[in-house]
């Protein structure tokens, strides 16, 4: 299906204070792919994601989502196709109760009340948060907040899911649940994170961003195990692939995988 693609063509962007954040980004993501975007802090991952729903518009180049070229006019339609989940779930959950929050998108889509309730229940069931329906967000743990934030986006049934640092603020158990959840999605997935283990588990493809440019693009298994490439870009091997030997004195000595 050609209408689930995300394509960036030579996209450049500078913030109003002249910080060049994206500097000629080009890639094409097709239907059903799961793509990790990795890079050091400040590499431009968040900026890149904010170009996917027209919150930021490129100063040069074009963004194509599905069969629509993104601009001010098409942004409303593009937003129905792509579900964007931001870093801080507190910003994502702005309604007074979990139900209202998850229902916000479907209500804006103009669905009937019955359909809205159906979608909310289904989305909450998928992320395992149905019992939290009537709660206000400030009574949720951070793991629950993240899960509900995801539910609030999947309730709109987007073709594409894009997430910024989905696992930051999560304890190991919630993180594990999130990974299993993400693995279960059949959507096209785009995940920006510096949690390389998560990317390694969830994504087949991986792009490395450095100073607003794509430094590498290929199979996640290859890129994320390439120690030299990662270190050049301010990253480290995923923890699960680092052999950590603990000596008796309690100091640790790291032996990279060869």
């Amino acid at each position: 299906m050609s209408h689930h693609i995300v394509e960036f063509r030579d996209v450049c962007f500078s913030y109003p204070d002249n910080t060049p954040a994206l500097d000629g980004i080009s890639f094409r993501i097709t239907h059903g792919e799961s793509v990790g975007i990795v890079g050091a802090n400040g590499a431009g991952k968040s900026t890149l994601l904010m170009h996917m729903n027209g919150y930021l518009l490129p100063s040069k180049g074009t963004v194509v989502i599905g069969d629509l070229e993104l601009n001010k006019k098409t942004s409303r339609d593009v937003r129905k196709k792509i579900g964007l989940i931001f870093q801080n779930p507190d910003d994502q959950l702005f309604m007074p109760t979990v139900f209202d929050d998850v229902a916000f998108g479907p209500i804006n889509l103009g669905l009937s009340e019955e359909k809205i309730r159906e979608r909310v229940d289904e989305a909450l069931r998928v992320v395992g948060c149905l019992p939290l329906k009537e709660k206000p967000p400030h009574h949720l743990s951070s793991g629950q907040k993240s899960a509900v934030a995801i539910a609030s986006v999947i309730a709109m049934q987007p073709d594409i899911l894009a997430m910024d640092e989905p696992a930051s603020n999560l304890d190991p158990k919630s993180r594990r649940q999130l990974i299993n959840l993400l693995k279960g999605f059949k959507h096209t997935k785009i995940i920006a994170s510096h949690d390389l283990d998560l990317i390694l588990e969830v994504c087949e493809r991986c792009m490395v961003i450095k100073e607003g440019r794509i430094a590498a693009d290929g199979f996640a298994e290859e890129i994320l195990l390439n120690k030299v490439l990662l270190e050049e870009n301010g990253l480290e091997l995923p923890l699960s692939r680092q052999n950590i030997i603990y000596t008796r004195k309690g100091q640790d000595e790291r032996v990279g995988k060869t």
Binding site: M50, N53, Y55, S75, R76, R79, K80, G83, L84, F86, N88, D90, D91, Q92, F94, M95, P96, T97, D100, A103, F104, G105, I107, N108, L109, E113, I116, E134, K135, P136, P137, H138, H139, S152, V153, M156
Partner: protein
């Protein structure tokens, strides 16, 4: 350490609204209307009236009993805000010291009467408002207001305020803590530093607002807050409203306290 837990624990009050009693099941609108009628009636009493207000305690007591709300919780919350009422009335006894006859032999200064009147009105209205939230939840109250015709711009503002007050307070606390860590002892407590902190909080708030707006846009927001209709007014609501109206009318129109006092005397 979160603001919500450390300070007022407003969240707990809200959690009580998950309960399922006769009062909880009433339509939020009928509870809002009943509370407004109650509050307006209480406020309508004169500056020196104390005794006629006493019967009105029945309303919060009944609500508390019927809704299984812990008495201590409401009392504690009232104590938190009580300094305001005390401040308003505390100088009345000083400035207004005319003597008023309570009976043939007992006199009291008018200032004390009006101070007492303020305290009782305060206790009645605040407990009614707290009980409204404890049985309806704050969002429920906002939605009810909106369905009663309050402009949605206003009710959405209230909802956002409620949603982000905790987040903002925590942010403020983080900033203050960071400042405390970086300034030792007395240094760094001047007005200038304080102004700087406010500035940081302001910028963070703007940034947050823009992220929230972005999240809203991502979910199809087009400038209008839409809602789904929920809950209908039923027989229980009619009965509840009728009972409240009757009670308030009886208390207002007849001297219930005097009547009861008469019974006790003889």
């Amino acid at each position: 350490m979160t603001f919500d837990k450390e300070y007022f624990n407003i969240g707990y009050l809200d959690r009580l609204s998950y309960g399922d009693t006769v009062i909880h099941r009433l339509d939020p609108r009928s509870k809002v209307i009943a509370t407004m009628i109650f509050v307006i009636t209480v406020i309508s009493y004169g500056k020196y009236q104390v005794i006629p207000l006493i019967p009105f305690l029945l309303f919060p007591v009944l609500l508390m009993t019927l809704s299984d709300t812990p008495v201590m919780l409401i009392v504690k919350k009232m104590l938190v805000v009580s300094p305001f009422a005390v401040f308003i009335g505390v100088f009345n006894p000083v400035f207004d010291n005319r003597a008023v006859a309570l009976s043939d032999t007992v006199y009291i200064s008018a200032g004390w009467l009006s101070f007492l009147s303020i305290l009782i009105k305060f206790a009645l209205t605040i407990s009614a408002a707290l009980l409204l939230i404890a049985t309806t939840s704050f969002p429920g109250v906002c939605n009810a207001l909106r369905r009663l015709g309050v402009p949605s711009l206003f009710t959405s503002q209230l909802l956002f305020l409620y949603r982000y007050i905790f987040v903002l307070m925590e942010e403020a606390m983080r900033i203050v803590r960071a400042k405390d860590l970086k300034s030792f002892g007395s240094r760094g407590t001047g007005v200038k530093v304080f102004a700087g902190l406010i500035g940081v909080l302001f910028i963070r708030t703007i940034e947050r607002a823009s992220r929230i707006y972005n999240a809203m846009l991502s979910r199809g927001f087009d400038g209008k807050m839409k809602t789904m209709k929920k809950s209908r007014l039923g027989v229980a609501d009619a009965a509840f409203l009728a009972a409240v109206l009757l009670m308030v009318y009886l208390f207002r129109a007849y001297d219930i306290a005097g009547f009861l006092g008469g019974i006790i005397k003889y």
